[in-house]
């Protein structure tokens, strides 16, 4: 149950990106969560729903894209989706596999108001 601390980091990163990129109001945060990240999307969503109003007084939507757990077989080169967390190549049966995606938790993008040059002074 470490979703709250991850959401805290997520919010800090969004605020930092907003400052550095001189963005206006944030409308949406797009998050990617790997199937094997150990992070539960529904718990992230509820933690965000609780924590976001402490930071923003306008609604910020969180959308979560789940990234499938995929791997490549080091023996035969097969690229595959890891079914049922069995890290075994479906083609040759080998277990020497390299995970290629599905372990991440990533701030993918934000939808935000971008100020034009003459509006910049209002920040």
């Amino acid at each position: 149950m470490h979703e709250r601390s991850l959401v805290k980091t997520l919010i800090e990163q969004v605020l930092e990106e907003k400052r550095v990129r001189e963005l206006g109001r944030i409308h949406e945060i797009q998050l990617q969560i790997g199937e094997f990240s150990g992070v539960e999307p529904r718990l992230v969503e509820s933690a965000f729903a609780e924590m976001a109003p402490e930071v923003w007084d306008t609604e910020v939507r969180l959308t979560v894209e789940v990234i499938p757990l995929t791997a490549t077989c080091r023996a035969c080169g097969e690229a595959f989706h890891v079914e049922g967390f069995r890290f075994v190549c479906p083609r040759c049966g080998g277990g020497n596999v390299q995970v290629t995606a599905g372990e991440e938790m990533r701030l993918a993008s934000v939808r935000a108001e971008r100020q034009t040059v003459c509006e910049g002074a209002r920040s």
């Binding site: 149950m1 990163q13 409308h27 990240s37 150990g38 938790m105 108001e113």
Partner: protein, 226 residues
């Protein structure tokens, strides 16, 4: 004013990863092999560490940081044998690096070759937290059942060794060492699985030798001659 999608592609845990990696390197430079021990509650992490401390009897030298939600009972058990600090999480179900580091700073690490971090009993969350360890070890006791690796895949996938504890109870419980090894190997094909009884000491010597070899490998890889 327009609403735009701004691509960022930033790893939420990058800062933690960097901090863990930095700490791992500093331990390597001191010649310390750091082992993060995870298991469900009651699998015998503390008993295993006690058995190892008795087996080694001060050579090589080990220290322990032991995490729990409440009480210092585990630290009290280990204190007569090795330098130990209790880490109390106050409710959190896993250890995180800042708490581990604060405990480390209170330990006398002179001459210590092995640092064991006994995590909070839990097979879920500790699997997602890098504590700067060189080796993650998952302990499973035979009373828990031989079907656990597939049920807790992250704990087994992210570990570099698995210890099956309480093998003295094998005559009394329906647990197959072959079945648990097969199940663990579906999650991680190269996972070393070692059977021990912390109670009567069976297998403890082989397990300790495995750790000594792991530390030697670390020193060789780092070109350290300590």
């Amino acid at each position: 004013m327009s609403i735009e999608t701004i691509p960022i592609q930033r790893d939420i845990q990058s800062q933690r990863r960097v901090e863990a990696e930095t700490w791992r390197r500093s331990l390597t430079a001191r010649g310390i092999l750091c082992v993060n021990v995870i298991s469900s509650p009651g699998a015998g992490k503390t008993s295993l560490l006690q058995a190892m401390a008795r087996h080694w009897a001060g050579q090589p030298r080990m220290a322990v940081l032991v995490g729990d939600i409440a009480t210092d009972r585990d630290a009290q058990r280990l204190a007569p044998l090795v330098p130990v600090r209790q880490l109390t999480t106050g409710g959190a179900c896993h250890l995180e690096l800042p708490l581990v580091r604060s405990g480390f700073d209170q330990l006398n690490m002179d001459g210590i070759e092995f640092l064991f971090i006994e995590n909070v009993g839990n097979l879920v969350c500790p699997a997602s937290h890098d504590l700067g360890e060189h080796l993650r070890v998952v302990v499973l006791s035979v009373t828990e059942g031989d079907d656990k690796p597939g049920k807790y895949p992250k704990a087994f996938r992210t570990s570099q060794a698995c210890v099956i504890n309480k093998i003295d109870l094998l005559p009394y419980v329906p647990f197959s060492l072959n079945a648990v090894t097969e199940d663990a190997h579906l999650v991680r094909s190269d996972l070393p699985v070692m059977a021990v009884s912390a109670l009567n000491g069976d297998g403890v010597a082989a397990w300790c030798d495995f750790l000594i070899a792991q530390r030697q490998q670390l020193l060789n890889d780092a070109n350290l001659n300590l």
